[in-house]
C-alpha cells in the first residue's frame, strides 16, 4: 500500500465531502453559538450583535458554579457506575454461550430505541409510592409501608446509568471479546483466584478501553437534561437543564449560548486531562 502524503490538491479529494459536512453542520452552528454568547440581550427575547462579556460575567456566580460542579459530579458518577457494572457484566457476557450473548445484546440495543422521555416516565412510575417497586417490597415483607423514591439523587443516578448502560456494553464488548482468554487462565495458574485474576490482569489489560468508555459515558451524561428534571429535585438539575431553561423558557439566547460554550470548554479540558493522565501512566 502507498504510504506517502498527498502530493496534489486532487489527492485531498476524498476529504472534501466530510470536511464540507463537518463545516456545515458542526463548525457553523458552533461558531454561531460562540458569536451569540457575546451578543447583547434585548428585553422581550431578542438580541443584537455586539461584543459584551455580560453573559459570561453573569455566569461566574456561586449559584452557577454549584450547578456546574454538580453537573460534572453527576456525569462522572454515572460514568463510574456504568463502568463498575459494565466491565464485569460484559466480561461474563463475552464468555457466555453465543445464544445468551445475542439475547443480551438484542435486549440492550432495544433499550437504545427508547427515548429519554419514556425512560424517565418509566422510572418515575417504578419509583412512585402508589405503583412503584416499594409496593413489591411491602408485599415481600421487606418494608412496612410503600414510599416514593423520587424525586431523589438516587433516582436520577439509576435512570441515567440505565440509559447509558447499553452504550457502555457496546463499547466494551469488542475489546472484551478480543481479549485473550488465556491471560486470566495464566493468572490463575500463577496463583490468583478468579476474582483476583480479573482485577490484576483483565482490568489493567483493558485500561485504555475503560478510559475511553468513561469519557464517552461522561460526555453522554453531561448532555442529559430531561431525567434530572423528571426524577430529581431542583438541586439535582444539571447545567443542561438550565441551558434549556434559559434558551426556551427565558428566551435568553446569549446567556444560554455562553453557558453551553463554557460547558463544552470544561468538558474538553476534563477529557484532555484524562487522556493526558492515561498517557503519562502508560509512558511510565
Amino acid at each position: 500500500m502507498r504510504r506517502e502524503p498527498p502530493q496534489r490538491l486532487g489527492d485531498y479529494g476524498p476529504l472534501f465531502f466530510p470536511a464540507g459536512m463537518l463545516t456545515l453542520f458542526f463548525v457553523v452552528p458552533f461558531a454561531t453559538m460562540i458569536a451569540v454568547s457575546f451578543f447583547q440581550r434585548e428585553q422581550g427575547g431578542f438580541y443584537t450583535p455586539a461584543f459584551v462579556l455580560d453573559n459570561y460575567a453573569r455566569f461566574l456566580s456561586l449559584f452557577f458554579g454549584k450547578v456546574l460542579g454538580f453537573s460534572l459530579f453527576l456525569a462522572v458518577a454515572v460514568a463510574i457506575a456504568c463502568v463498575v457494572v459494565g466491565v464485569p457484566f460484559t466480561y461474563l457476557l463475552a464468555r457466555s454461550a453465543r445464544k445468551m450473548q445475542i439475547a443480551w445484546l438484542v435486549a440492550l440495543l432495544s433499550i437504545l430505541s427508547l427515548s429519554e422521555v419514556m425512560i424517565g416516565f418509566a422510572w418515575s412510575t417504578l419509583f412512585s409510592r402508589t405503583a412503584g417497586i416499594t409496593n413489591l417490597f411491602v408485599w415481600l415483607g421487606l418494608m412496612s409501608q410503600a414510599q416514593a423514591l423520587t424525586p431523589s439523587f438516587g433516582a436520577v443516578m439509576t435512570a441515567m446509568t440505565y440509559q447509558a448502560f447499553p452504550y457502555t456494553v457496546l463499547v466494551l464488548y469488542p475489546a472484551l471479546v478480543r481479549l485473550d482468554p488465556t491471560l486470566a487462565e495464566a493468572a490463575r495458574t500463577l496463583g490468583a483466584s478468579p476474582v483476583k485474576a480479573f482485577f490484576t490482569v483483565v482490568v489493567p489489560a483493558l485500561r485504555n478501553t475503560i478510559l475511553a468508555t468513561l469519557i464517552m459515558v461522561f460526555i453522554f451524561a453531561l448532555g442529559s437534561y430531561l431525567l434530572p428534571q423528571l426524577l430529581g429535585r431542583p438541586q439535582h438539575w444539571t447545567l443542561s437543564v438550565l441551558i434549556t431553561d434559559q434558551a426556551i423558557y427565558q428566551s435568553n439566547m446569549p446567556f444560554a449560548a455562553a453557558m453551553a460554550v463554557f460547558l463544552v470548554l470544561v468538558s474538553l479540558a476534563l477529557v484532555g486531562l484524562a487522556v493526558y493522565a492515561g498517557q503519562q501512566k502508560e509512558a511510565k
Binding site: D180, T182, L183, E185, A186, A187, R188, T189, L190, G191, A192, S193, P194, K196, A197, T200, V201, P204, A205, R207
Partner: protein, 345 residues
C-alpha cells in the same frame, strides 16, 4: 505415593468425549510429552491437570493428594500457554514476579528471585523492559521464567514452541530439556511435533481419539510401537499386510518369510517396518519381489520407492550403502524380524 497419577480420567463436552478413561503415572522429576494429532484430547488432558477444566470422571493425584477438584490457583503449578499469555500491562520483571506478588512476597525477595530467573534464562537486565519489545524467543523464555518463579511441583507447557521458527524451536527444545534436568522438576509438555517429543521426553505419551495409545520411552515408541496408529504417527513407516496360515507360516505381501512368530489369536495383522530397515537385495532367493518406481536422492539420504504386491514400500539408505538400482528394475525386499514389529490389524 509421589508424582502425578491420573486414574480413569474422562472429560465429556455434552455428548462428545474429549478424553476417555486415561490412566497415567508420571514419576517425580520426569519429563513427559503428550503427543498426538490435533483434536486428540492432549490439550484437554493438560487443562484438567492444571485445573482449568474439571474432569467428568476419574481422579488426579499429585504427591499423594487428590487434586481433582482443587481450584487452579491452589495447585502450585507453573504453566506456559501456547499464546504465552504474557501480561501486556506489566514489564518483564513484573510478569515474572506476578506469582510472588499474588502470594504476598516482599519486594526485595521478589527482585532477588526475578534476577535469579532472568540469569537462568540468559536475559539478565531485562527486568524493566516492556514485553511488547521482546523477540519471539525472548518472550518464550520470559513465559518459562514466570511459570517457574515459585518453583512449582509441576511444570506444564501447552505447545510452547509452536510460535517459533524451526531453527529457534530446535535450539529451545534442547535448552528446555537441559533446564528441566538441572531443576529436576516434573514436566509435562503438549505437542503435535514428534521430533520435539523425541528430543525432550523421558516418556512419550501418544494419544488419539481421546485415548492413550502408548506411553513409553522415545526409542521404544519408535522401535516397538504398540499399534499401527503409533507406528504411522511416529516417524515414517511401511505398514504391510501380514498373514499366518494354519501351519503357523508367516507371509508378507503374499510371500512366505521366515523368522516371524504368528500373532496370538488372529491370522491377519500388520507389519511395521521403518524405511531404514528395508533391505533391497537382488531378486529371487526367497526375497519379496518388488519393482523400483522412483528414486529420490536427497544427498544425505536416498529414498527408493518400490512396488510389491500392489503396495508402495519405501526404503531409505545412506549414500555409503547406495543401492545400485534403476527405475523399472526388479529387485527383492528383505525384512529382518529383529527390526520389524507385528501389530494387530
Amino acid at each position: 505415593m509421589s508424582g502425578l497419577i491420573l486414574e480413569h480420567v474422562t472429560k465429556q463436552f455434552g455428548t462428545f468425549t474429549a478424553v476417555s478413561d486415561v490412566n497415567l503415572s508420571v514419576a517425580d522429576g520426569s519429563f513427559v510429552c503428550l503427543l498426538g494429532p490435533s483434536g486428540c484430547g492432549k490439550t484437554t488432558l493438560m487443562r484438567m491437570i492444571a485445573g482449568l477444566d474439571l474432569p467428568t470422571g476419574g481422579s488426579i493425584r499429585l504427591s499423594g493428594t487428590d487434586i481433582t477438584q482443587v481450584p487452579t490457583h491452589k495447585r502450585d503449578l507453573g504453566m506456559v500457554f501456547q499464546s504465552l499469555a504474557l501480561f501486556p500491562h506489566l514489564t518483564v520483571g513484573e510478569n515474572i514476579a506476578y506469582s510472588l506478588r499474588i502470594r504476598g512476597a516482599d519486594k526485595d525477595a521478589q527482585k532477588k528471585r526475578v534476577d535469579e530467573l532472568l540469569a537462568m534464562i540468559h536475559l539478565p537486565g531485562f527486568a524493566d523492559r516492556s514485553v511488547s519489545k521482546l523477540s519471539g524467543g525472548q518472550r518464550q523464555r520470559v513465559a518459562i521464567a514466570r511459570a517457574l518463579a515459585i518453583s512449582p511441583k509441576l511444570f506444564l507447557l501447552d505447545e510452547p514452541l509452536s510460535a517459533l521458527d524451526a531453527k529457534l524451536r530446535e535450539a529451545m527444545q534442547v535448552e528446555l530439556r537441559q533446564l528441566q534436568q538441572r531443576l529436576g522438576i516434573t514436566t509435562i509438555v503438549v505437542t503435535h511435533d514428534q521430533r520435539e517429543a523425541m528430543t525432550m521426553a523421558d516418556t512419550v505419551v501418544v494419544m488419539n481419539g481421546g485415548e492413550i495409545r502408548q506411553a513409553a520411552a522415545p526409542v521404544d515408541i519408535y522401535r516397538r510401537p504398540a499399534d499401527s496408529f503409533v507406528a504411522d504417527f511416529i516417524g515414517q513407516t511401511n505398514l504391510l499386510p501380514f498373514e499366518t496360515d494354519s501351519a503357523g507360516q508367516a507371509a508378507v505381501l503374499g510371500t512366505s518369510i521366515e523368522g516371524f512368530a504368528p500373532l496370538a489369536g488372529s491370522t491377519k495383522g500388520m507389519l511395521s517396518v521403518r524405511p531404514e530397515d528395508v533391505q533391497l537385495v537382488p531378486a529371487g532367493n526367497g526375497a519379496i519381489p518388488a519393482k523400483v518406481t522412483f528414486v529420490r536422492d536427497l544427498g544425505g539420504t536416498i529414498e527408493t520407492f518400490v512396488e510389491a504386491g500392489g503396495q508402495q514400500v519405501i526404503a531409505v539408505s545412506s549414500p555409503r550403502n547406495r543401492p545400485e538400482v534403476q527405475v523399472g528394475q526388479t529387485v527383492g525386499i528383505k525384512l529382518d524380524p529383529a527390526t520389524s514389529v507385528v501389530l494387530p490389524k
